[in-house]
Symmetry: C2
Subunit: 257 residues, 2 copies
């Protein structure tokens, strides 16, 4: 499936004793510059579409804005792969190590986020959502080079994004929900890739109680999730899932009363 996210390149393919030259579908990527209140904040390698969503999600995460009403100007300059955003309050982030912020919190054993949502979801709903997620991740099947992320409620996927970077994909779904003024209350997040501790903190900052992946978390992520009150579900494949924390949110046959 050809899209703005893909391009074709000429490759050589070796199959056993055969060598041929052919056109292959490849993920496109650009180096995006994000400027906030006149200051260059970041350079990100990313997929080339919806740069506004990515930039807003990134700036949310970095603490420059919290909602749509914080944004006073937004210009996407596709030619120069630049997004310029002005904010109402010039929250000049003076912490030079801001990208390490989640790590510093994690290292301090303190994420500062507590999730109070009483959301519960059935195992069947999770299986259905992951099924829908998989069928949306078409580009991944074609190019093998893209990570997907989705914001969903119990019934359906509300926002879907893919990007060559897994953190970018999550930034994109939050950026889109901020620009569209969508509530993320009682929402869940699905990702195709590994569950990192940074991601968990990112998602907790949005108060999201359930994080679902086809892949696995690691030990630090699980401790964090327990501490923050987040339900982490991994290895969702077919009719099977692993629940790593706060299983009370998942209703199934044999679930705790």
């Amino acid at each position: 499936m050809m899209s703005d996210n893909t391009g074709t390149v000429k490759i050589e393919r070796i199959t056993g004793n055969k060598r041929e030259t052919l056109e292959d579908l490849i993920s496109r990527e650009i180096a995006l510059k994000i400027v906030c209140n006149g200051r260059e904040i970041a350079a990100l390698l990313c997929s080339p579409v919806h740069l506004d969503y990515l930039a807003v999600g990134y700036l949310f995460w970095e603490g420059f804005l919290n909602s749509r009403k914080d944004i006073s100007g937004l210009v996407v300059d596709e030619q120069n792969a630049t997004v310029k955003i002005d904010t109402v309050h010039n929250v000049y982030n003076t912490d030079e190590g801001s990208r390490d912020m989640p790590l510093r919190r994690i290292r301090a054993g303190n994420s500062n986020f507590k999730i109070n949502s009483q959301l519960r979801v059935t195992a069947e709903e999770v299986f259905n959502l992951v099924n829908e997620f998989q069928s949306r991740s078409e580009i991944f099947k074609d190019t093998g080079g893209v990570q997907g992320a989705a914001l969903c409620n119990r019934e359906k996927i509300l926002v879907f994004a893919d990007d060559i970077g897994r953190h970018n994909a999550i930034d994109r779904i939050f950026g889109e929900s901020i620009l569209k003024d969508m509530s993320t209350e009682d929402c869940m997040v699905i990702t195709s890739g590994r569950i990192t501790a940074e991601m968990l903190v990112k998602i907790a900052r949005k108060g999201i109680p359930v994080f679902i992946s086809r892949s696995a978390p690691a030990t630090l992520g699980i401790s964090l999730a327990k501490e923050m009150g987040m339900t982490v579900i991994g290895f969702v494949r077919g009719q099977r899932m692993n629940i790593y924390s706060n299983g009370w949110r998942v209703i199934s046959d044999g679930s705790p009363k």
Copy 2:
């Protein structure tokens, strides 16, 4: 397979209508602090073993050191998840945006690296190396959460590393080769994950002419590889591979004379 890189956690598994509690194997991760010449340079989420390799590889990449003889002191403090390294010349990296360095170069369309190696490798050698690589990546099969990287010559894997982060895995193989004073001339690198443009620049900095992955590169990476003179091979599975750039280094039936 249990190792220092893995731990067990109690999970709930739902399979169809069955719900059970069991112990599962999970990747361990820590938040590592890297201190160079008394200054904290980075906080990285990483697997908990061989922190010296990771720190040296990271500092190589960040421009603080180039070889073993640049290192005047190295202390691994496992308790506090900290590695302290002193260098002979206090190359104080004043570029606050140093982590963006590869991106800035990529954006400027100029990697500054030219690979002159005349190394050639047969398709069969590539298949064999990837086979060996796969069998070394045991932990990935168990936990689904680890990326592998290897430094190899035409015959065999010389250095292998895995880590919860794919960039960490590459930093580790370079860190180990620096600490062991190994030449990387005419070596190749294999990675399990997606080929990012940053990785290509990292590898080019070591003058390595061939980069092999089971996954795919994206467009920017391919342009960069062509410009730098690097051979990029992706989607190596069974007896099949895609060559994205500088195919002259790969010898096979039907290869260009």
